[in-house]
Amino acid sequence: MRYIYMPLALLFTGFCVTFCPSCTTCSRSHNVPINVDGFGEDTGYVKTAQKVFRSLPTPIEMSILIKNLGIEYQPSLLNDPLNTSKYVTHNQMALNFGVYVTDLVYAGLFEQTQTMLRYKLAIQKMVDGLGMSSAVDNTLLKKLETNINNKEEMLEILADTYSSCSAFLNEEDRHFLTIAALVGGWVEGMYIASSLTNEHLVNSENKIEQLVIDQKLTFDMLWQVMSELDGNADIAALMSEMSGLVRAFDRIQIKHTHHQVSFDEQEKTNVIKSDASVDTDVFAEVKEQIQTIRYNFVK
């Protein structure tokens, strides 16, 4: 009798593992638990939280930040969609998945529909290459094509596609690819922003330098996540490639004091006022490092 039920027990286990992931974990996201040491002084308070997330920079956020600088569209800065054939390893594909999503959103914010279609195809190739086709509903990318003239809808579809891919990679225990995609998207955003200072600029230059330097805050979070996965050879290689940028960012000190919130009647929003001092002297060094890293990602 017990021999009859042995296969049943195995079947049961298999069924549970396959169809019931919530037996072991209730939720996952591309945001990972954080080491909160150093965030203020409230460690006791922090330790009571059951779930802690870092909201890492997405290609969508980076593109909006760049668009909000008020500088005209610069297509020559984007990675050529025809470069997809160069990316053969999963790591290269994940990095350039992030790069292409940033490029697509950037083009989309400037309503460059033909360019967007070319980037959509490039993203599709990266999705297929990474084996994520099952995660990204095919209709999602088709929907993107149908809604290419509707900016709000297009951004929503892209956010959905992006989060589906991140969730899929995490569920497949391929966290390093999620991180690689994040890094790729972030570096592309930094590359576009920092390159804008070379051309078409006079008045906005300080704003760009400020945005690039302020990304230290984001980078610190990204670096912490990467450090937690440094046992992975691809992540270790990526971290080594970015070590020059770490050194440059380490020279930046951002200090805030006297936070205060007031309501702006005109904008109908709350304003977080603070005295901040940031040293932007290292901008040239950060820019140089970003140019090198980005060159290595897309070559």
Binding site: F12, F15, V36, V52, I60, D214
Partner: protein, 147 residues
């Protein structure tokens, strides 16, 4: 035949014991109920949602940039009690407390300097229901305004 019956029985037990996948459930909920509330702000594409139960607390760390207009929205499943959230800066200064602002679930803000903020979300415990805490999807979302 007995095997088929046994497998069917086991499948029913598994389905009853194990709730549907929380991630998938949360994603459907988030898409329909949370993201649209960010409008006219553009969702930043970041997905911070999890299944939480009464009495639990979650924290989200986020970098916000100078001069950008943000909408923070804390989204909670209808089955859950009212959610409370506090936004604080790196020095533990409280920037916003939903309990002191009519238990709203969103906060629009613009930092005049780039900085990291922390959003602490708490699901209060319903006293009458302590032995069977309600569980549901809770998400923290950010939108940015395009200039």
């Amino acid at each position: 035949m007995r095997h088929i019956l046994a497998i069917t029985l086991l499948s029913v037990i598994v389905a009853a014991v194990c709730p549907p996948d929380g991630t998938a459930q949360c994603k459907v909920f988030v898409k329909g109920a949370c993201i649209p509330v960010l409008n006219p702000y553009i969702h930043d594409g970041s997905y911070q949602a999890a299944i939480m139960s009464e009495g639990e607390e979650a924290e989200v760390y986020k970098t916000v940039f100078a001069g950008q207009q943000y909408r923070l929205y804390v989204c909670v499943d209808q089955v859950m009690p009212d959610v409370e959230f506090v936004v604080s800066d790196i020095h533990r200064n409280i920037l916003f407390d939903s309990r002191k602002n009519g238990n709203v679930r969103q906060w629009d803000f613009r930092p005049d300097a780039s900085q990291q903020i922390k959003v602490t979300v708490r699901i209060p415990v319903r006293k009458e229901n302590n032995e069977n805490p309600t569980i549901g999807c809770v998400g923290v979302f950010f939108g940015l305004k395009e200039k």
